[in-house]
């Protein structure tokens, strides 16, 4: 194809969008909404993965002492823990210290703890244990659990399992969301392009009568779909950036306890996100255009059919 023909076809594609600007805007809106939901599902999934990784890197767990154990028994628990092996550090945290630290964490909301002050079960005496070899983490936790007067242990592995389940759920929902929204977006783009074709059916008819190839007739409509997809991708990227920066990051950083370590920086995922949006937008736009024109050329695109 000559460069002048290619330039002409691109120009025609852009002209199609302008001719049908309201429907084009509606398409960009709907496609952007679809891409936004897909993008948010991706960001949730990335953040969960990040949190999981962070937790997996924490080689610390807590062993709680039975209620009613006397100070000698509590001390013995400490010695027994050190004798288990693979222990880098074992720090005793009394219930008073634990209460103090939770109060500090809650800041102005510490009054919420008042009613638990006398409850020994609420925050029992405990040992904060750091393991040497992370590979032996589960084994070490098991041995500590067997020590007399240890009521239970809590490792981040339990939280990690829960988060793992959430990630699986989010991934599944995200995948189905993607499939459903992909089909919806495809349908919307196909209809927009179809409307343009209806507006330009006289031109298509003349093109066919003078011997334009089907590829030549198709290209402006594919260009139209791709441009709609690209606009949607760039617009969605901007909206996602704004939402993530203003809502997610600032809210989480301001939250009690600071969840900042779990939160992925937008700049870390921006390239993937932009590439994903552009690819999804272009693919949806291109296929939407192709579906419409294929059906039109097959069913109605005769030289004599000009409604």
């Amino acid at each position: 194809m000559r460069f002048s023909s290619f330039r002409y076809l691109i120009k025609e594609g852009v002209k199609n969008i302008w001719l049908n600007r309201l429907m084009s805007l509606a398409s960009i809106g709907v496609l952007s909404a679809c891409l936004l939901m897909i993008g948010l599902a991706y960001l949730v999934s990335v953040n969960i993965s990040n949190a999981l990784g962070w937790m997996e890197r924490q080689n610390v767990f807590m062993a709680y002492v039975e209620e009613g154990a006397d100070p000698i028994e509590v001390e013995q628990v400490g010695r027994d823990i050190l004798s288990v092996g693979n222990i880098a550090e074992c720090v005793f945290i009394s219930r008073e210290q634990a209460f103090e630290s939770v109060s500090e964490l809650l800041g102005e909301y510490k009054y919420l703890l008042e009613e638990f002050k006398e409850d020994n079960d609420f925050l029992p005496d405990a040992y904060k244990i750091t393991v040497e070899d992370l590979e032996l983490f589960d084994e070490t936790v098991y041995h500590v659990q067997q020590i007399d007067n240890v009521s239970h242990v809590r490792s981040r592995r339990e939280s990690a399992d829960l988060i793992l389940k959430i990630r699986k759920l989010v991934t599944n929902i995200g995948m189905w969301l993607f499939i459903i929204l992909f089909v919806v977006a495809l349908f919307i783009i196909a209809n927009t392009v179809k409307l343009t074709m209806y507006v330009r059916r006289l031109e298509i008819n003349i093109m066919k009568s003078v011997g334009a190839t089907n590829n030549f007739i198709r290209l402006p409509f594919i260009v139209e779909g791709i441009i709609l997809g690209l606009f949607s991708a760039i617009f969605t990227y901007g909206v996602t950036w704004y939402l993530y920066r203003t809502l997610v990051v600032s809210t989480m950083e301001g939250m009690v306890g600071g969840l900042a370590p779990y939160v992925v920086k937008f700049s870390d995922v921006s390239h993937n996100l932009l590439a994903g949006f552009v690819i999804a937008g272009v693919v949806i736009g291109c296929f939407g255009g192709l579906i419409s024109i294929h059906r039109y050329l097959k069913d109605e695109g005769g030289v004599y059919n000009v409604g």
């Binding site: 002048s4 006289l202 003349i206 003078v210 011997g211 334009a212 007739i217 030289v303």
Partner: protein, 224 residues
């Protein structure tokens, strides 16, 4: 050259449009195709343009066999002919120049070829002074001349005109057919479908008459 050999055509609806049609139009001929509505004239044009295929028989046009040719070759068959419609079919938002240039652009012609060819064709049909006008700013006769210019611009060996004078008055119709005559004298084959018997009588060319899908008379050629 156009050749119909024992052509039968029955549409999917069950309507029989053509029955054993045989005729041959040689290169450089001028042929009127006449007959009442429903006689099968449009079906013949559709077959020539390979919009449809015959139920039986063969249609040969400029070296292409309608039934045996591949679908991807249809555009190249159509580039060997120019078609003129009764209702002009000009693109309303394009100027006269752009309407003619459009036919070249969509067949992949270069910008310089378009700039060279379009003014020449507009001059041939006497519309150079209307190049920048929109279709709504010119008369019916002029619109049909734009249609003819568009059909001629890709330099086809044959012009198929489907009732080209159907929407214009008698004097303008004569001018249009004179123009077709001039184009035919330059070597282009012309096949014109018409209802207008006066026009046919005035211009002494071969006439093929169709009735109920059959060729009932042919004033020339070697119709079998």
């Amino acid at each position: 050259m156009i050749e119909f050999k024992g052509v039968h055509l029955t549409y999917n609806s069950g309507t029989t449009a053509l029955v054993d049609v045989n005729f041959r139009v040689m290169d450089g001929e001028f042929v009127f195709l006449v007959g009442p509505s429903g006689a099968g004239k449009s079906s013949i044009i559709k077959l020539i343009m390979r919009e449809i295929v015959p139920s039986a028989g063969e249609v040969l046009v400029n070296g292409y066999n309608n039934k045996k040719m591949k679908k991807r070759h249809i555009p190249y068959l159509r580039r060997t002919m120019g078609i003129v419609f009764q209702d002009f079919r000009l693109i309303p938002h394009m100027t006269v120049y752009d309407n003619v240039a459009f036919a070249m652009r969509v067949t992949g012609a270069s910008g310089s070829a378009i700039r060279k060819r379009v003014p020449y064709i507009l001059d041939l049909v006497g519309l150079s002074h209307k190049a920048r006008s929109l279709p709504c700013q010119i008369s019916g006769g002029e619109q049909q001349r734009v249609g003819l210019a568009r059909a001629l611009v890709n330099n086809p060996s044959m012009i198929i005109a489907d009732e080209p004078t159907g929407n214009i008055d008698a004097q303008l119709a004569t001018d249009i057919v004179d123009l077709f005559d001039e184009i035919n004298r330059r070597g282009t084959t012309v096949l014109m479908v018409t209802h207008d018997t006066k026009l046919v009588d005035r211009h002494k060319h071969r006439v093929i008459e169709l009735r109920n899908g059959c060729v009932v008379s042919d004033t020339g050629g070697d119709a079998r």
